[in-house]
Amino acid sequence: MGTETDRTAELEARSNHLEQSNQRMRLLLEMLSLVQGADDLEATLRIILTCVTSGYSLGFNRAFLFLLDKGGKTLRGSLAVGPMSVEEAQEIWKNIEERAQGLEDTVSASSAGGLEGDRELTEMVRDIRISVGDGASLLDTCLSDGTPIVITDLSAVSESDVLRRLGSSSFVCAPIVTGGHPIGVVVADNLITGRAPAEEQVNLLRMLGNQVGEIVTHASHHDDIERRLRELSTLNEVCKGILSTTDLETDLGLIVRISAQVLNAHGAALRLVEDDTGALVTQALYGETPDEEASGEGAQEIAERVARDGEPLLMGSGSSGSESDTGDVHTRNLICVPLTKAERVIGTLTVFGRGETDSFGSGGFGEDDLRFLSVLGGQAAIAIENAKLFSSLRKTQQRIRELHKHLLRSERLAALGELSSQVAHEIRNPLTAIGGFARSIERRMDSDDPERDSIETIIKETERLERILTEQLCFAKISPPEFNSEDINEVIRETVNLFTERIESRHANLEMNLAEAMPAMSIDAGKMKQVLVNLVQNAVEGILDGGNIRITSNRLDRVAEIRVANDGPPIPPEILDRLFVPFATTKASGTGLGLAIASEIIYEHGGTIDVTSDAESGTVFLISLPLTLDGDRRRGPIDRRSVMNDRRRFGRVP
């Protein structure tokens, strides 16, 4: 009977065991069907690991997943599931057992909950990298043998094996296989309950490893394709963005920002080859970390190497031996691509320091990132060249507009000159006669003659008319300038001296601030004085009694700036616009030619004259003159005849 009872008990035990196995198989199938519905690699892996640790299924405490990278040279820790401590384990299991009715519920509970332990374990496991083929770790052996390894005694594990970092003394490693090739390893243990892995568990883990390989591979491909698509659509957006702006600075800013953001990097730097010097100069930076710190080798040297070779460069973990394994891989990773337009390198684009990745598993840049940046670099080069072209086009347009404006004014002056010379003759002859006879009469008058005032008025008014005529004729044909090496400050001082009395009579306060290191400039001193006389005269007439006049000269890099400013009432905008236009005078006594002539003279000197006027800063005339006299600066033709004029004045020319 005893035997019968034993047999019954044994049968019952077997039946129980079969039932358990059966249930576990069902759960495995359930898991497989759940995995089919997962939408990305991480979700897939999470379901698998949850299944490994579920009491309904394999029933391990913790599970870790390592995947082979694309090159097949490194196993990277990818994901982990499990509690960090016994307390947490009990809490979690209690909760899950209470609520969960099956594997599906467990999976949704563990992934929705975002368990603290899972996160911490995953962080730890992602720091683990194992190089393949050197047998230094059991994982490597497991991968290459293609069979599970069960460890129940830690002495079987090498002291240097990274598996020791998992902290358990007994565990199972099982390869994940697809089509006969291993693609990763799953490690499971019972750290919390301390139970050695049961044979049943090991068998199931092996089965699981064989079943999920293909699914993982698919999910991984799916992820790749998803990412590629995302990158493509980002690239499309980026290109649309950078090609639509034509402002170079905006463009460069956009390129570095987008490069860094899309690649999830700490920062990016864009360097351009300068047209004149050929030097590679940083033009735009994005991110907190200056890229000089991003690598052991100076980022500038790397960029120069890339510009010279015209080949993109990927530096970081997993690439060539240009770095050691010490230090933080996050800050040591760097991609640098050349920006090439029509086979000419116009600059480089560097992206450095990958931040916390949301993409799976990798903390550094990969070949995909390099490819992506290369394509972006190609588009960026086109955008930059476009912006440069636009910028030079804009400059040319502006120059043409200026020339056009000048031409209009010149035409007006020429027409005016034509008229002047016709009228001048008709007016000047009678004027000369009137004034001349008046002087003749005045000379013979007694000093107390009652008509003396009248005759003096005639003389004075004739003189005024003559002066206006002279000014007009001056304009009718402005003689070409005579450039000599002169001290502009001296010309300013001479001019101001002419106004000493008038400035005093208006109780004006004159402030002069002339640059000390002003080099000798090639100017026509006489004409420049004519300009300054005009500006100072305007300033004196523009102020209220007791106002301020400020005259300054400044030496800049390539130009000398002269400012004549006063704090009188501002010039109304509509007049300001036409200030340099002939006859646009606002003064009752002026000819309306002074500033027009001044502007013409400054133009001949290759300089510019501008005016601003408002209530706050008063009226400021600004003259900019080039410090060097280049060949093309002399816009007016040099007439050698004018040089001879004075010599001819007295005495016969041979």
Binding site: N429, L431, A433, R641, F650
Partner: protein, 118 residues
Amino acid sequence: MAKVLVVDDDASLRALYTKELTYEGHEVAVAASGKEALESIDVSRPDIVVLDIKMEGMDGLSALDEIMKLDRTIPVILNTAYSTFKSDFTTWSADAYVVKSSDLKELKETIDQILQAH
């Protein structure tokens, strides 16, 4: 004291110059055109000629040419309403260039200086 020939087609100016240059002590002759001027030079050989450039008929510059052909030693002062002729090379053969002004000081001084130099 010199013989000055004033050539100008404007009667008022001829009158003014005659009065003023006479006052300065010169002997003044006048001509209203280039043609008259050449006749006068031929007859009376002035010490100096004050020549207007823009005149009816033969203009001053043609007249200057003719005067030069006639007698290269007579100094000529070009006197005109235009400063523009200053840079016209045809005026180079003149000895001086004075722009017309009711103040005859410059003209008078120029006459004196040229006469002294001769």
